[in-house]
């Protein structure tokens, strides 16, 4: 029963972390794209800028980086197993 409790509450807590990191990573990427556009086309057209940023974001979402955020779930699980082995191994 305690294991179920750990899994459920651990999942909830890690989901909060996951969503926060996901939003943060997205926001940082968008800011970077906007700044890059500003540097390359100072005072450029607004719709062209939006198109550039949306394209960059689509590439970001298709890439590997957002999937790496899933490590938020994997690493604690691995640490729990490691602690389990380290503590109980004779």
């Amino acid at each position: 029963m305690a294991l179920v409790r750990l899994v459920v509450f651990g999942f909830i807590a890690l989901s909060v972390v996951y969503v926060a990191v996901w939003l943060y990573s997205r926001s940082v990427r968008r800011e970077k794209l906007e700044k890059r556009w500003e540097a390359e086309n100072p005072g450029g057209d607004r719709t062209a800028r939006d198109a550039y940023v949306e394209k960059g974001m689509a590439e970001y979402h298709a890439g590997l980086r957002p999937k790496l955020i899933l490590l938020v779930y994997v690493i604690p699980a691995v640490l729990v197993v490691a602690a389990l082995i380290a503590t109980n191994w004779n």
């Binding site: 305690a2 990191v21 943060y24 926001s27 940082v28 800011e31 729990v80 503590t87 109980n88």
Partner: protein, 228 residues
């Protein structure tokens, strides 16, 4: 205000420091003199300083507790600076199970057997490092919980607290990450919203001051006229 903030910070520091001092693993160099089992009748005062019954067992108000009696090297500074003096120390040996603190310890019986294997006398001492967490307090009758026992060559063996090093490095990194996240959130989400809101507010105010005259006059027309 500054004083309140200072008090608040000191309070947070003391509580967090106490929590870490209780929960994080510490290492004692000791020799085991005996093991025993006593019955404990917990009260609401000392119950929270004990873990749960053995894994898969039922919880009762009264339960047997495994104890490990030792003589250990006394130390300063969280065990980092060892003194020449020796003193007795009693550890409990309990499963922490799946929840708290997260040591995931299920092998209390095996640990008790290991402790029994390392019993020695003052004349022919067998020194061991006992990894433990928790506090010994005579007035509450609470004991630190032994997590692991490892034989060492002598009473001066060096112990590097790897876990605590990684833990505090992780804590600093997590704090820096959290701060970066908060700043990003404020810069990209809160500030634009506030700007929008203050723009909207100004627009409303402009219109209000325009209409105010008319509205005021209309409102005033309802008031009772001063008597002559």
């Amino acid at each position: 205000m500054a004083r309140i903030r200072l008090i608040f910070r000191v309070l947070v520091f003391v509580i967090l420091g106490g929590l870490f001092h209780y929960v994080l693993p510490q290492h004692d160099v000791a020799r085991i003199t005996s093991i025993e089992v006593i019955r404990m009748d917990f009260s609401s005062v000392n119950r929270i300083f004990f873990a749960q019954p053995d894994s898969a067992a039922r919880e009762f108000a009264t339960r047997d507790i495994r104890l490990i009696n030792t003589v250990r090297r006394k130390a300063f500074l969280f065990g980092f600076v060892r003194r020449e003096a020796e003193g007795v120390m009693v550890y409990r040996n309990e499963d922490t199970g799946w929840i708290w603190p997260p040591y995931f310890k299920f092998d209390s019986s095996d640990l008790q057997a290991e402790a029994a294997d390392s019993i020695s006398t003052a004349e022919t001492p067998k020194w061991v490092v006992i990894t433990h967490y928790g506090w010994r307090n005579r007035f509450f009758t609470i004991f630190p919980n032994a997590i692991a026992i490892r034989p060492v060559s002598g009473p001066d063996a060096t112990v590097i607290p790897w876990f605590n090093i990684f833990f505090f490095v992780f804590l600093v990194l997590a704090w820096a990450f959290l701060r970066a996240m908060w700043r990003q959130f404020r810069e990209r989400t809160v500030n634009p919203l506030l700007e929008d809101a203050s723009d909207a507010y100004e627009r409303v105010e402009d219109r209000a001051s325009e209409t105010k005259g008319r509205f005021r006059r209309w409102l005033d027309s309802w008031r009772s006229k001063p008597r002559r």
